[in-house]
Subunit: 453 residues, 2 copies
């Protein structure tokens, strides 16, 4: 049985190790950073995660969900904050059985590492920076950041889960015919924390994802276990998206204060000290990475963000990476030790779907920052709900397909677009869902029936 070398002990690497360990593989994980359970690393640049059905399914497969559930906070919908301070709740699913879960990236990562290390055939090596790969000799080099010494080791099977800026992928880029793109959004993000109140309680409704949609920018907030909220401002870097609505413009506390008071007055009340915190945290960037192939010589492969980093607006980055593990695991089951077949089928199954979730995630940014406050959008949502009730197998909301089901992302993307056309058609000349013409809806759905399966 081959030994597996995993590069990166992030979320995907830690979970993947558990999967492989359960199959009896010996797994060595090499992580660039020091052990985050012992050292405080980074921070101020994470974006809270939204664990949903695909990720939960993976955690359940390896028996970790019960543990992870303890650090997850259910969110049943979006809470829209208007400029006037009004709150509008938009449910994500059909009822309280459908929800997403706020999880802290670092808490989750620490738990997964703990759970991984409970398996005696998993060993995590920290401060080991991948600094070179010879794919022909099956040799990977690691530079130990503590000792400064470099070691070269043979690998049998190498899986890179080293994230959006993957060092392994950089090595693959030196090979012929490696397709690659990294495209940044014109938006950056900045984290701010709304602390718990004097009694350690949440200052807003806890079981929702809060959004302050403002058209070309937005603020969101997700709850943490300690009563605080991690808030993230998504805003243009420069004046190309509006001169005063940019990180470039917000270069002193006065401007920041005025910007928040104008756009997020209720936030200012909840977090009076935000303007000094604003300058302590860095501006993060948002990138979509696509590449192909993911495999070299049938014994090295990319997985998770290393192969398909996406923007965070559908809350699917981690879920997609965990789903990679689900699929890779089923390929391992199917092809009993034939890694050429395992990796090839894994790539075929996942590439098209990770391209699709990349597109879905970009589309959802527009929805979150702008459309959720739009009347026509809300009407279409209501029509969608009605149609979902009437055609529960045929007309499934895009959000539901992506978040509460495990149907391939590419199918969700395709069906979602057809449904969007139908919703545009049905909403074009009514102002309220009561005016919905069910006969017309029936006709449109029947016309598209083969494409909605």
């Amino acid at each position: 049985m081959k030994k597996i070398t995993i590069v990166g002990a992030g979320l995907a690497g830690s979970l993947l190790a558990v999967y492989l360990s359960k199959k009896g593989f010996e797994v060595g994980i090499y992580e660039r950073r020091p052990d985050m359970r012992k050292h405080n690393i980074g921070g101020g640049k994470s974006i809270n995660l939204a664990l949903s059905t695909r990720g939960i399914h993976a955690l359940k497969e390896v028996g970790l969900y019960d543990e992870i559930k303890k650090i997850a906070i259910p969110m049943f919908g979006r809470m829209i904050h208007t400029k006037d301070g009004d709150l509008n709740f938009q449910r994500y699913g059909k009822d309280d059985s459908e929800y997403i879960n706020a999880v802290s990236r670092s808490e989750l990562n620490k738990s997964l590492m703990d759970l991984a290390e409970k398996n005696s055939n998993i060993k995590i090596h920290f401060s080991e920076r991948c600094c070179g790969i010879d794919f022909e000799k099956n040799e990977v080099s690691f530079l130990n950041d503590d000792s400064g010494s470099e070691k070269k080791m043979k690998y049998e099977i190498l899986i890179a889960t080293d994230g959006a800026t993957s060092a392994v992928r950089m090595e693959m880029m030196k090979r012929p015919r490696f397709n690659f793109s990294q495209l940044y959004e014109n938006y950056g993000y900045k984290e701010l924390i709304i602390p718990a109140d004097a009694n350690g309680k949440f200052r807003m409704e806890v079981n929702t994802l809060h959004i302050w949609p403002r058209g070309s920018f937005m603020l969101i907030a997700l709850p943490n276990l300690d009563g605080s909220f991690t808030c993230t401002l998504f805003l243009g870097y420069d004046k190309s998206l509006g001169r005063e609505n940019s990180f470039e413009f917000l270069d002193n506390e006065d401007r920041v204060r005025k910007f928040f008071e104008t756009n997020f007055p209720d936030f200012v009340n909840l977090h009076p000290d935000f303007s000094s915190e604003f300058f302590q945290n860095p501006v993060g960037s948002l990138m979509t990475v696509k590449c192909y192939p993911w495999i070299v010589n049938d014994n090295a492969a990319l997985l998770g963000d290393a192969s398909h980093a996406i923007v965070p607006f559908f809350g699917q980055g981690m879920n997609a990476a965990f789903e990679d593990c689900v699929y890779l695991n089923s390929c391992i089951d199917k092809y009993n030790g034939d890694w050429a077949k395992i990796f090839n089928e894994y790539q075929n199954l996942r590439k098209v779907n990770s391209d699709a979730i990349a597109d879905l995630a970009q589309e959802n940014f527009i929805e979150m920052r702008d459309l959720v406050a739009d009347k026509r959008f809300l009407l279409k949502k209501k029509i969608e709900t009605e149609l979902y009730k009437k055609y529960p197998d045929t007309f499934v909301p895009k959000y539901t397909m992506v978040t509460f089901m495990r149907i391939p992302y590419s199918v969700a993307l395709r069906r979602g677009r057809i449904q969007e056309n139908i919703l545009n058609n049905l909403s074009s000349d009514i102002s309220d869902v009561s005016g919905l013409d069910f006969n017309f809806a029936d006709k449109l759905i029947k016309e598209n029936l083969d494409k909605l399966m």
Copy 2:
């Protein structure tokens, strides 16, 4: 006056040096390879170049055209070779005054180096491999491949003309928010040489670009000064484009011979020994590179293939790179030593147009390998010629705009698409150009008049 450091003494680097030298700048060029005038380097992987109006304009601006003309062979049109051995000539321009020029990449490069070195303020350093840049300290490192020693040097202005796999661009990729994509075609290419005949004469008509269009693949041939033709086979790598029509399939001499005898019988007569040569030459790959920004800290910039590598099917790679020099030169004239403004305007002017020629080049592959043998396409070409005669300012063939004019590529792309629609409209229900409805044409052109300027 700032000293200029150029990385790469290829076509763009050598020409750029001459431009800068004429303005009085001191220029140091650092070239990775040894001096190609003294050493035989590479070969068998070049694709002959097609020098046309944009490139010629640049050479004329610096007074080099008369020299380069001596190594250029005019090509007045395409010579289409059918499977039956029939030859059909398709003129490129309106008459013999409009032609493109076959030039050998290495001959041109050598000439440009010679011409550059005639200027005492240009110095070319060979075997100097760029191996690192500190953009904050304005330091660039070169590894000398002969001595093995590395030197670090300060730069004032750094311009990278180090080609499609630019080392400078790789350094830029390590910086935040650098957008980058490299996408390979599923096609590779292989060069073959048809030698001159026993009397040193050309074995085919010399002043044309020969094409054997075969739908999903093609062979082309361009004349060389010594009576030979450099031929290039463009073919799918693998069975995804047809099992037997792939480099993967052509893995022995029998298969190669059969493939050529079936598809290019007249070529086989001209070059009986092709099948052994086939296995001496490598399969080259075809890539499109886009990136942004092209500038770092107002004192380092990319130019030519380093910033926008394209596929060769419009014969515009070199011409576009030379045009970069034309524009950069005019920005230098305009902003008298203010390099922030110079580079910024250069980038603004060129980025949109290099994106456009990348698209145009990909479109033209389909035209060359497939459409030139298509009846409807030929009819549309005839209609195009008629309309160009009647509306010489408004309806200019796309090929003419790209090849014989210097209007921005982005404008050629836009106008070309509108004209394509008009041609589709006008050709849809006639079988011969004699049936062309000039009144309808007049109406269509008037409707689109504002977009055809």
